[in-house]
Symmetry: C2
Subunit: 189 residues, 2 copies
């Protein structure tokens, strides 16, 4: 096995387990067992469990935020405005997946608290998500893109919680409010 293979296997396994079940519910023993890795190997690559969680958050940003949500939404529509709204179409499909596991950044933020290093890291990644929305808003020529993105993000996060409760149509509801929000932020003549 290549030297980097073990590390990658650890991160990949962590992605599966942490995303679905949270941080505290997954112990190091279960993790290394699932990854087929010795404990010494794990601690050779990561100084602590928390450091692995940081690596997981980074992976989550790449795989979920960027590839799964933003790229998909951009590919589904032509204009930036339509791309913004397409976020909630992507959410609709995502909510219905049987491996839907909510937003790890929100989960970890609430699980660890806003003062914990992992909570703070989650806040940073949530801000990155808002950055993508802000970018689209600027492309769409909306007013006050930063402000807009904060309101938009409220809709995203709220609909995710509702979906966790079982409301699979939460994406439709959020999208309807999102349309109104776009109208509200259109440039005034």
């Amino acid at each position: 096995m290549s030297p980097a293979a073990a590390r990658q296997r650890i991160v990949d396994t962590a992605y599966q387990l942490f995303a679905r079940r949270g941080i505290r519910d997954v112990g190091v023993n279960e993790l290394i067992s699932s990854a087929g890795v010795a404990k010494a190997t794990f601690y050779r690559h990561f100084a602590s469990k928390d450091e692995l969680v940081l690596a997981f958050l980074e992976q989550r940003d790449r795989v979920w935020t960027v590839d799964l949500i933003v790229a998909d939404a951009r590919g589904r529509a032509g204009t930036p405005t339509e791309q913004l709204l397409a976020i909630f179409d992507v959410f609709g499909d995502w909510f219905r997946r049987d491996d839907f596991e909510a937003c790890s950044f929100i989960n970890i933020l609430l699980e660890m608290g806003a003062n914990h290093p992992l909570g703070r890291a989650s806040i940073d990644y949530l801000a990155k998500i808002r950055g993508h929305v802000q970018q689209l808003a600027e492309e769409a020529g909306l007013r006050d893109a930063e402000d807009f993105s904060r309101s938009w993000h409220i809709l995203m996060k709220g609909s995710i919680i509702s979906a966790t409760e079982g409301d699979l149509d939460a994406s439709k509801r959020a999208q309807r409010m999102a349309r109104m929000l776009i109208e509200d932020y259109r440039p005034r003549p």
Copy 2:
């Protein structure tokens, strides 16, 4: 000490600790130590820690949902429509309290998962919150009050997460969208 005093002290202490730090982070030993209660006394009143959590959720519904949010919002305004919007004024004050601890129902739902008994109980209490909103929507004469309350709840939950991230103006943003939502659900002639 009266026989009920010990139980009440346990529940009161649990409220303080669970609301602020979540379930998993508070052990039974710390809890009984804080409450000044013997372990045997604790297990005389509660069959397990989970059963105490259920009692906490019930208390949270009474103290927080009903007394702190709904009653306050109703008292702040005259018409049902204004009372609805006042929810976010209450949120604005709540977000700024130094003991702001987010929504325990959301926290526990995400912490334990939607399939866990405590997660399911949290879902039920969240539904109760929607019920209050629905009641107000009906008093305001809005169309489709149940649907309306689901969208409204998205704004409430999303703004709470944003406040946890540090955006203290999330209540204002949510309120602005809430106004648009009310317009959208006004009875059509």
